[in-house]
């Protein structure tokens, strides 16, 4: 028996309040796996990670381990990384090239299409045993958008592109500089954080506000004089995009916005990009800002950082961060962006070091009885949401909680909606 929690009382979208139980309660977390992760499009990998048939990549959808493969027919597929026999992982490598996945427990082997191709002592099974019935559990839908691969367990999802809505316009500012698109730098930064996954996902959707304080030390380093950023950096204006499906993106807006890494900036043809993407994007999300694709994929245009926040229980997450670059950039430009990324973000990055501490601090005390009952304030920019006539969809000020409010509103809707797998059972 399972009792679902009505979370209406925990998310006050109109009043801008959030109940801390959303970060600490175990039943709520389990319900998230059932009703938020299972039916949603979840980020898997970048298409550039799959060049030859046999290329595979191990990741998670929620807490489920999956293997993403490129089949012989050059199709992308994904499977639960769990042998159908006794459930061990069929692959313990992070990524690579293979022809089969053989479970090291009893030797059951699967091909790149997830078909069970070899069962030792197959004669020992009854007549009714058919290998075709025992292939790896396949993720039913995989779709890509401009290099990003998403998958969902939902048997009847709305198409990925439709679920992105206007968010796609903002994403293109990073993903669609030219017809060649992006590629990934080899390897991934992976590290653990003590905090609920939503602390990170919401920050990347809605929070420019924290930059001046949390990242003060990094802004000091970046300032040319070393005495601190100029006023115009600290008091920036811009827009924050608010999406009904819970996505969010915020960015300062300025005609002279540019990439931070000098080599990247020098190489960039802003004029050509204005032609292709339009002034609004070049003056905003091309080079700046933060974004989250609901539920747990985020990115930073300034340094090509794309990342996923893997949930590992209500109070832990594991971050996986890639660096993407434009395919057509010369090598020294790619290197410059890669180095700028790892020096600013990633676990040793001068910006990112401070984010981890914020989230673990919020999480560490949230479970106390009195503390847990004190609501959190998401009221910045209440009532400021509007169509601004320049940026698509609903937007708010750069400094606003609007995207955070709509992130949790979407979360609330999914949490209160039985997913396909629940049938009539409540």
């Amino acid at each position: 028996m399972r009792r679902n929690i009505d979370v209406s009382g925990l998310v006050d979208h109109e009043g801008g309040l959030l109940d801390r139980a959303v970060f600490t309660d175990h039943s709520i977390y389990a319900q998230e796996m059932r009703r938020v992760f299972a039916p949603s499009w979840l980020f898997l990998a970048h298409t550039d990670q799959f060049k030859k048939p046999g290329d595979f990549f191990a990741t998670f959808m929620g807490e489920d381990p999956v293997l993403v493969t490129l089949t012989r027919e050059k199709k992308l597929k994904a499977f639960l990384n769990s042998c159908r026999h006794r459930g061990a992982r069929v692959c313990r490598a992070d990524f690579g090239q293979t022809r089969n996945f053989t479970c090291s427990y009893h030797g059951w082997s699967y091909d790149l299409d997830g078909k069970l191709v070899s069962v030792p002592n197959e004669a020992g099974y009854p007549e009714s045993f058919e290998r075709d019935d025992w292939g790896l559990v396949e993720v039913p839908h995989i779709e890509t958008y401009n290099g990003l691969i998403f998958g969902t367990w939902n048997p009847s999802p709305i198409p990925l592109r439709e679920s992105l809505g206007d968010m796609a316009w903002y994403m293109d500012a990073m993903l669609d500089h030219d017809d060649d698109g992006t590629e990934v730098v080899g390897g991934i930064h992976k590290w653990v954080l003590d905090g609920n996954w939503k602390l990170a996902a919401e920050q990347f959707a809605t929070d420019w506000y924290h930059v001046n304080m949390s990242h003060a030390s990094a802004l000091m380093v970046m300032s040319p004089t070393g005495k601190g950023p100029r006023d115009e950096i600290v008091h920036r204006t811009g827009r924050q995009y608010v999406d009904p499906n819970g996505h969010g993106a915020g960015f300062p807006v300025h005609t002279k916005n540019r990439f931070d890494a000098k080599t990247v900036h020098d190489h960039t043809d802003y004029t050509a990009l204005r032609e292709r993407l339009g002034d609004a994007r070049v003056e905003g999300p091309l080079t700046n800002g933060h974004a989250t694709v609901f539920p747990n994929f985020s990115y930073l245009p300034v340094n090509g950082s794309i990342r996923i926040w893997h949930p590992k229980g209500p109070d832990k997450m594991e971050v996986w961060a890639w660096t993407i670059v434009d395919k057509c950039w010369p090598d020294e430009v790619k290197q410059a962006q890669r180095l700028y990324n790892l020096r600013t973000f990633g676990p040793s990055g001068i910006f990112e070091q401070d984010d981890g501490e914020n989230w673990s601090e919020c999480q560490a005390i949230a479970a106390g009885f009195i503390t847990n009952g004190v609501a959190l304030n998401y009221q910045m920019g209440l009532g400021s949401e509007r169509e601004d006539g320049r940026y698509p969809g609903t937007t708010s000020e750069l400094y606003s909680d609007a995207a955070g409010r709509s992130f949790y509103a979407r979360w609330r809707t999914l949490m209160n909606t039985p997913a396909w797998h629940e049938g009539d059972a409540r």
Binding site: D94, H189, D194, S217, M220, G346, E352, G356, E357
Partner: protein, 188 residues
């Protein structure tokens, strides 16, 4: 155990005395890092420093050779002396909140094996310079209960001068795949 005549044989094991001097150098370095004296630490690094800490992955047995990321792939550090100085400015700002209050660290350096550099294999170095491998454990304790233990190896080339040693090349291999820490806010 024979006593070998240790001259500066290229590729040869350095003398007992040299090992002692290298270890003392490493202990001094560890002390500076544990005391947060990063500016002083920088003086132990050569101007042409190359400092690299690649990520590590789990691979299929057949692809084991790829388990350490290649140069140009994901790395925790990929630095010159200038870029390290740039990073260190963050600590000087007085606003590095992730280190306020500061972590308590203890750098333990061990397993030091020093060999004379073979100049044929290492352009820009002399047989007097040293190729040194060491192992480390860095214990970090933070706030009330946060603990991290970083273990790994360092492959250094130390340049020797009358003033002592400087680290010219360092490759750090951390013995972790997923970094089991919320950040890396020290150096190795």
């Amino acid at each position: 155990m024979t006593t070998t005549n240790h001259s500066t044989v290229a590729g040869g094991l350095a003398s007992l005395q040299t090992h002692f001097e290298v270890q003392q150098f490493y202990y001094r370095e560890a002390e500076l890092l544990d005391d947060g004296r990063y500016a002083d630490w920088l003086t132990l690094l050569a101007d042409d420093l190359d400092y690299w800490m690649p990520t590590r992955t789990n691979r299929l047995r057949r692809q084991q050779a790829l388990a350490t990321a290649a140069r140009g792939e994901a790395a925790f550090y990929d630095e010159s002396k200038e870029s390290l100085a740039w990073r260190i400015r963050r600590f000087d700002s007085g606003m590095a909140w992730a280190e306020d209050p500061p972590s308590r660290t203890r750098h333990l350096v061990t397993n030091v094996v020093a060999r004379h550099v073979d100049p044929d294999d290492n352009a820009g170095f002399a047989a007097d310079d040293l190729a040194v491998r060491s192992a480390f454990i860095v214990y970090r304790n933070r706030l009330e209960r946060e603990e991290n233990i970083f273990a790994g190896s360092r492959d250094d080339i130390l340049r020797r001068s009358d003033e002592g040693f400087q680290v010219a090349r360092r490759v750090i291999l951390l013995d972790q795949n997923v970094l089991l820490s919320k950040n890396i806010s020290t150096f190795f």
